[in-house]
Symmetry: C2
Subunit: 194 residues, 2 copies
């Protein structure tokens, strides 16, 4: 036997992978740290040393779902934004994901110390989307006084709002109109610079 | 004794009023139909006859919170939209309301038959906001080919997204920029018709 006990990063990855699997299988309600520890073959205290509560571990596991949505840059800002919005809409179209998202919001509202971790989850995704605008500026596709955050809020916000709150459908035609309206509102014309 | 047993509408109103009070006091987690029935002085079966589940009663009670946010029409579409958005942001700024909203979303994701009732909740509010656009058209303030629903999605969606998902602040300056961008995107200029 060479290494003996695996390095901590290995343990962390294994715990998160198991947590993710269990979330997929049973959702938030049935998620239990004991079972995650059991299945990952580590002590419960090891899990709690890294993630102070069940909710913290859930947040870490959900982070890995979000990383699955690749954000591609094709150089066409409008098309890239429609694709990002469509990927988010497809995710939220699944009741299991809607449930998880709402349970994360609820966890953040109940535990203020957790809210920061939950917000950070989305901030990471958001940062990747904002990079698209930086790239578009580099290509002269976007005016300098444009506020990319405001445009993203209008697009991604509308997708969340329809998926979580109003229940209205989010199809491709809608997303194209939405992205066009948000870009037009910021003075970004279809061709490129306003 | 004249009337004997009170008319059903009186009972319904009383039950909803008590349910609302108990939601305010203890939130969704501690909400119990037994206690509502007790405090309202009606049989539990009476409550269940009208609202098939605890969640259905919660939805009915939350509906009355939403009715509290008055939607005023001053004839200035932009200012009216900023005020509506600010009222929603103020509500969602309270952890108790954020919790309730997320718990309603979760309830809808868990019980498809409830989702329709939850969506209807917001649809009522949304209809009131859409009336603003109809009024603006009457006053020639808005172009005919404008899609009011799309504009509302961009504004209210961004407010929900920041309040529930990203945790970014929603202040008055932000709301003014947001409403202006959404109206500009639809070709509604500051003065009136595009």
């Amino acid at each position: 036997m060479g290494g003996g006990r695996p390095r901590d990063t290995g343990v962390e990855e294994r715990v998160v992978a198991v947590a993710r699997e269990m979330l997929r299988e049973g959702g938030y309600a049935r998620f239990a740290v004991d079972q995650v520890a059991d299945r990952a073959g580590v002590a419960k205290t090891t899990v709690y040393r890294r993630w102070p509560s069940r909710d913290h571990l859930v947040v870490a596991a959900v982070a890995t779902f979000l990383d699955d949505v690749a954000i591609e840059e094709t150089g066409d800002l409008r098309a890239d934004l429609v694709r990002i919005a469509a990927a988010i809409a497809a995710g939220l179209g699944q009741p299991g994901i809607r449930l998880l998202v709402s349970e994360l919001i609820a966890a953040g509202a109940r535990q203020p110390d957790l809210a920061a971790s939950v917000y950070q989850l989305w901030a990471r995704r958001r940062a990747a989307s904002l990079d698209l605008f930086a790239a578009a500026v580099g290509q002269g596709e976007q005016a300098d006084d444009v506020d990319p955050g405001l445009i993203l809020d209008q697009i991604i916000g509308a997708v969340y709002y329809r998926a979580l709150i109003t229940g209205d459908p989010v199809d491709d035609d809608y997303l194209k109109r939405l992205v066009s309206a948000a870009l037009a509102g910021a003075g970004v014309s279809s061709g490129g610079l306003a």
